[in-house]
């Protein structure tokens, strides 16, 4: 299964990767090679096989509904690229 440079652009946009035109050709070739290897799976009949998302047999792990002291706000913000008045500051995502 070959991935075109346009496919790479589409996936890179989905993942917000901002790749350059020079990178897209190289990634298209490399990713196509990897996807080709994945085709091997199609040979297996998995019609009646249930999927496995995780291997543990744990289900619905609960903890007591008891409040615990949270990490202080200042500590949470300590690595923020930008902050203001105790909040993470971000750029506007909605235009006027």
């Amino acid at each position: 299964m070959a991935l075109t440079p346009e496919d790479v652009d589409h996936v890179a946009a989905l993942a917000r990767l901002g790749i350059t035109p020079a990178e897209r050709q190289r990634f298209a070739e490399q990713l196509s090679g990897i996807l080709e290897h994945f085709q091997a799976l199609q040979a297996l009949d998995t019609e009646n096989i249930p999927p496995t998302a995780q291997v543990l047999e744990l289900r619905n792990v609960m903890r007591p509904d008891v409040a615990r002291p949270p990490m202080p706000r200042g500590q949470i913000l300590v690595n923020a690229p930008r902050q203001e008045a105790g909040f993470f500051r971000v750029q506007a995502v909605l235009e006027e």
Binding site: A12, I19, A40, L41, Q42
Partner: protein, 492 residues
């Protein structure tokens, strides 16, 4: 007994510390001196935490003195220098996951494993290099610099926990901690000639461990000789209320269970793990090791894991799918690199991730996004999850007849720096013998079992039943009692 402090194994150091023959401060200075002396050649460390280490050593010495020779008075790791892969959040110490996007990130809290090691009296000498976000098999994908193999510095140490394996192999720390998502503990352990244990999924908490693929990631130790790995596993294993995927399974005292031998133990040899491309020296040494296990009383038999061939494709769909989700958090908002000079929100995010991530991380994010995207989900992701079931069933059937499986850890010994750097598929194939174990969530242990004609170490992989790390450790310990591969050290 080893002659120099930096050559001590964990149990040797423990005995000397308890007897008061050495202090943790001396041991820690020896490790820091060794780092200063050899790390220019190895590049295992991203950060050396000398001040923290010496403070912890001083505290350990006070505890040991108060214990007055009583080994029950202090936790087993008291005063022992340990290195941490740079993806364990460490309160107050820069933690980068080997990525430029986390340069300067100083976590305000400890990962559970770090907190448990602190409580066990460990001394933290520094943070260890790794492939960026643990994606790679050579440590060449580090956003900072490649780490070198102490047996031959023109070669890679394996990866992604290459700093963790190289530092222990070169005596820069006595023990280290790494993570294994598809082989990232076992393969570098094999390539550097040390013991490396990937515990069962759910055995060790992932809280505060920078996530790669959450259904596969697991934390584990490196050591010279498996006794050190038994000591550290005991300290870090067990249920954690902060990680709901940790299992409520009791943690045995692994070190006390090493003796007893392997007489009558049923050991299976999966023929599919001797893949095409396995180097003749690897095959020869692994077969000789299997013979040794037979001489030690184990019942050796052949077993088939028929879906092994599909492990690589299954892994490289599931892991990148989880990556594309887990790494969405690096968007320049809460921590890490942020292209604050770019005015548009979406363009700023593109710029942050374009400059912050390396090529392999980008490849995997794209693979995962593609496998999960509309129209491809069933063909790739769902298919891989179904094959995951088949791979797990292979192991379930094998363990009806065998207690432990044994195979090569890696088809080759350490390869040259640059040899596979531009060929992602060739790099992925380096983990072909380790990937299925993560897919099935089982414990795996690599121990040295010989050297190739170039003098490079070869790893023997032991695969166990879920939550049966103690049997893996016992088999390895029995093998070590009969051989001396684990005590052969590189000359630096």
């Amino acid at each position: 007994m080893s002659t120099t402090l930096h050559d001590l194994t964990a149990p040797e150091a423990r005995d000397l510390l308890i007897q008061g023959e050495i202090t943790s401060t001396e041991l820690t200075h020896a490790a820091l001196d060794r780092i200063q002396h050899v790390d220019g050649k190895i590049n295992a460390f991203l950060t050396v935490t000398a001040d923290l280490a010496l403070r912890q050593a001083a505290a350990a010495d006070r505890a040991l003195l108060a214990g007055n020779g009583d080994s029950n008075a202090t936790p087993e790791l008291t005063g022992i220098p340990i290195g941490l892969k740079d993806l364990f959040c460490t309160d107050g110490v820069e933690t980068t996951s080997g990525s430029k996007i986390l340069k300067g990130f100083v976590p305000p809290y400890d990962a559970t494993v770090v907190a448990r090691l602190r409580a066990a009296g460990a001394v933290f000498v520094g943070k260890l290099n790794m492939d960026e976000f643990a994606m790679g098999s050579s440590t060449e994908n580090s956003g900072y610099f490649p780490t070198r193999n102490p047996w031959d510095t023109s070669r890679v140490p394996g990866g992604s926990s290459g700093g963790s394996s190289a530092s222990v192999a070169s005596g820069e720390c006595i023990l280290s901690l790494g993570t294994d998502t598809g082989g990232s503990i076992r393969q570098p352990a094999a390539l550097c000639g040390v013991a490396g244990l990937k515990p069962t999924y759910g055995r060790v908490s992932r809280y505060g461990v920078i996530a790669f693929a959450s259904s596969l990631d697991q934390v584990g130790p490196f050591s010279i000789g498996v006794e050190g790995s038994a000591m550290i596993l005991h300290a870090i294993a067990g249920q954690d209320p902060l990680d709901s995927t940790t299992a409520p399974v009791p943690v045995p005292h692994y070190r006390a269970l090493l003796e007893g031998g392997i007489n009558g133990l049923r050991i299976g040899v999966p023929k599919e793990y001797f893949v095409q491309g396995t180097e003749p020296d690897v095959e020869k040494c692994v077969n000789a090791a299997i013979e040794t296990l037979g001489e030690l009383g184990a019942d050796i038999g052949d077993v088939s894991l028929p879906h092994t061939d599909y492990g690589l494709a299954t892994y490289y769909i599931i892991a990148p799918a989880e990556v594309s989700s887990n790494l969405a958090r690096y968007n320049g908002t809460r921590y890490g690199l942020a292209a604050t000079h770019v005015p548009d929100t979406w363009a700023a995010m593109d710029e942050t991730r374009r400059t912050g991530f390396g090529d392999e991380v980008k490849r995997r994010i794209m693979l995962g996004s593609y496998a999960l995207s509309s129209g491809y989900y069933d063909a790739y992701y769902l298919k891989a999850q179904k094959v995951r079931t088949l791979i797990k069933q292979d192991f379930d059937r094998a363990f009806e007849h065998f207690d432990v499986l044994v195979a090569p850890t890696s088809p080759t010994t350490a390869f040259r720096v640059g040899e596979k750097a531009n060929d992602p598929m060739a790099m992925y194939l380096s983990d072909v013998c380790t990937l299925p174990v993560n897919v099935a969530g089982l414990p795996g242990l690599s121990i040295p079992c010989g050297f190739d004609s170039k003098g490079l170490p070869i790893g023997l992989q032991l695969i166990g039943k879920a939550f049966d790390e103690e049997t893996l450790l016992r088999v390895a310990y029995s093998f070590e009692q009969a051989t001396d591969f684990h005590m052969t050290r590189p000359t630096l």
